[in-house]
């Protein structure tokens, strides 16, 4: 018998018990639907994280001041005073893989404009920072190198700060007060949104010349971080090693001692974030996968009932010439048709669920064609796996006994 005929017979047999067939398929439908929706949510989240990390600049390296332990107490990153402006100059001078670098120092401040005030982070840096981070301006422009040398009171603000202080008012050229010091707003950055890797609002920030921050706000002359862009993405690993070696040397760290800084490469951060996303996706998908297995058990259950009910039919088929293989094939096909139909409808379920999630929750959902192909193959495998035992039972029936079965 050719496959088409077998499938036709299976469809007819399933059609005789429509309600039962639909209920049996429901398990697979829900299982496949859930797996597709969950994988979609997970993949969508991963994709977003990757896009955001890419947007930060793909060759980016982050050199942070390390942790220091005082009397056995860890002070957190950035607590050492050993990272200084000269380190940045040394990196630019001695690391051939470093393309550009910007120093950074950080403080928090209360910002006031008119009757509005806002508490935010205030970072000090140099103009090339905006190029390294690939962060354009929606209005105005960056402060200049001259501003840095003069320790001028100029500020670049993020979108969140702009919204909270100015609302609809034009902000460029206005004077705001940071910790009671007047600053002229020279630029507003394009919103970057919440950082997927860190989870903080990247637009809730004010950037001022590093010299201004150090001299007028914090009174500290060390750096909290240095942003470095490597000449290429491939070079970023080499850059990481060169910078680490250079800083160990400059900070006179003996071979056995720990670094008093850290160098992070954005590719690493992307990997970490991706790994987290992958674990999450896997977790969601395996929870959904459990329902697929439950659906498979449902198919097995119904197929066993069906084999018992149709014992006489099996006897008749064998009497008129069906071989064991024919009977096995027939029941296996019924199971696979059940699971494939269920899987097919489940894919539609999953796609509509993904669509609804995007529409109502605003989460990015990414359903790749590969996932759909896997879903089809997997539901087929479920049918074969859970249909095999009932089909074998049918095929092993003794025709004489089967014909006599009441």
């Amino acid at each position: 018998m050719d496959l088409l005929a077998i499938i036709r017979i299976a469809m007819r047999a399933l059609g005789r018990n429509k309600m039962r067939s639909i209920l049996t398929m429901l398990g697979i439908m829900i299982g496949v639907g859930a797996v597709i929706a969950m994988l979609g949510v997970g993949q969508g989240a991963r994709q977003t994280v990757q896009e955001q990390i890419q947007a930060m600049g793909s060759n980016l390296l982050f050199v942070g001041a390390g942790t220091v332990t005082r009397s056995g107490m860890h002070m957190g990153w950035g607590s050492t005073k050993s990272l200084i402006y000269d380190d940045m100059l040394a990196i630019m001078r001695e690391c051939p893989t470093a393309h550009a670098a910007a120093p950074g120092s950080s403080s928090s401040g209360q910002v006031v404009f008119g009757n509005d005030n806002w508490a935010t982070r205030v970072n000090g840096t140099e103009p090339q920072y905006f190029d390294i981070r690939v962060w354009p301006f929606q209005e105005g422009s960056a402060f200049t190198q001259n501003d840095v040398e003069m320790a001028a009171n100029v500020a670049v603000i993020g979108e969140t700060v702009r919204k909270n202080l100015f609302g609809a008012t034009n902000s460029i050229g206005q004077t705001i007060r940071i910790n009671n010091l007047p600053f002229r707003v020279v630029g507003v950055l394009v919103p970057k949104g919440t950082s997927a890797a860190m989870g903080d609002d990247q637009d809730d920030i004010i950037l001022v010349p590093i010299t201004t921050l150090q001299k007028k706000i914090t009174g500290q002359n060390w750096l909290r971080w240095i942003m470095v862009s490597a000449v290429s993405r491939q070079a970023s690993y080499a850059a990481q090693q060169q910078i680490a070696a250079l800083l160990r040397d400059r900070h006179r760290i003996r071979p056995a001692e720990d670094d008093d800084f850290f160098v992070r490469n954005l590719a690493d951060m992307a990997d970490v974030a991706d790994e987290a996303g992958r674990v999450m996706t896997l977790l969601l998908a395996s929870i959904a996968g459990v329902s697929l297995i439950v659906g498979g058990i449902g198919i097995m259950n119904i197929m066993l009932v069906s084999v018992t009910e149709r014992t006489r039919e099996i006897g008749v088929r064998m009497a008129v010439g069906a071989t064991e293989r024919d009977v096995q094939q027939q029941f296996l096909t019924e199971a696979v048709v059940l699971s494939l139909l269920g899987g097919g409808i489940g894919i539609l379920f999953g796609l509509s669920a993904s669509y609804l999630i995007t529409k109502t929750l605003g989460w990015p959902v990414l359903v790749s064609p590969v996932v759909i192909v896997i879903a089809v193959l997997f539901s087929m495998a479920v049918g074969v796996f859970f249909g095999f035992y009932p089909a074998s039972r049918a095929a092993q029936l003794d025709p004489i006994e089967a014909l006599r079965y009441e």
Binding site: R312, G315, V316, G321, D326, L403
Partner: protein, 261 residues
């Protein structure tokens, strides 16, 4: 004993082309735990093409076991069975299935039609397992249904047909692959006496056209329509005789009271 001379199994080739079934000293044992049940104790039969044989016997006489062996549903424990000169004992399950498909037509007491399946599809069932096209299978099935007088009932479901009509569908199913023999196991057991005779009429007509029929029954007035009667008792053949002056079922029907169909 009306049996013809005992044939030589080894010589059963060309000169015996008329012999369709040749059974030589067949035994069948069943192991039921510790007990060994001896269902057939040395049965030998020769059936010629075109014969119409009834097998009678009380339950436990071995007639059902014998029919299962004739129908290639079961294998003898000892002895030989040749169907159209093919040695059946020793064939694989797969080969037996092929023989059942091509050479044997079954008719059962309980009709054994698939419910919620049309008469035509029921008749088509054996053609699905034969190497013929779907179109050819359907053509043959329609012909077989027409032959048993149900050409106008192809799309009916078994539940829409009377017992006699259902059995005729079953006969059409048995005939669709043009078998060498038709095996009927109490085909009239579930039917009223008039319908039973109608079924026997069909069998007689099929036999007139040359079909070999072996029929199991325990009703003597059904057995009388055949040409030859074999009686089983305790796993052996007790009597094997030609039936003389057998009635024509078509004539008997005339004398039966007419029932509502």
């Amino acid at each position: 004993m009306a049996t013809t001379s005992q044939p030589d199994v080894k010589g059963a080739t060309k000169q015996d082309h008329e012999t369709i079934i040749l059974v030589r000293d067949v035994h069948k044992y069943y192991e039921l735990g510790e007990i060994r049940v001896h269902a057939l104790r040395g049965v030998s039969i020769e059936i010629k093409r075109g014969d119409f044989v009834t097998i009678m016997g009380a339950s436990g006489s071995g007639k059902s076991t014998f029919m299962n062996i004739l129908g290639c549903l079961d294998q003898p424990s000892a002895g030989r069975y040749l169907l159209e000169n093919i040695e059946v004992s020793g064939l694989s399950k797969r080969q037996l299935a092929a023989i059942r498909n091509h050479k044997i037509g079954f008719v059962f007491q309980g009709f054994n039609l698939l419910s919620r399946t049309t008469a035509l599809e029921n008749v088509e069932l054996p053609t699905l397992y034969a190497r013929i096209s779907k179109a050819e299978g359907e053509k043959r099935s329609r012909e077989a249904l027409a032959l048993v007088g149900l050409g106008d009932r192809v799309a009916h479901f078994p539940s829409q047909l009377s017992g006699g009509q259902q059995q005729r569908v079953a006969i059409a199913r048995a005939l669709v692959n043009q078998p060498s023999i038709l095996l009927a196991d109490e085909p009239t057991g579930n039917l009223d006496s008039r319908t039973a005779v109608e079924i026997m009429d069909i069998f007689q007509k099929l036999n007139d056209d040359g079909l070999t029929i072996v029929l199991v029954t325990h009703e003597p007035d059904i057995a009388q329509f055949a040409k030859r009667s074999i009686q089983f008792r305790d796993g052996r053949i007790r009597r094997d005789e030609r039936i003389l002056n057998r009635p024509r079922a078509s004539e008997v029907i005339q004398n039966l009271p007419k029932l509502e169909d």
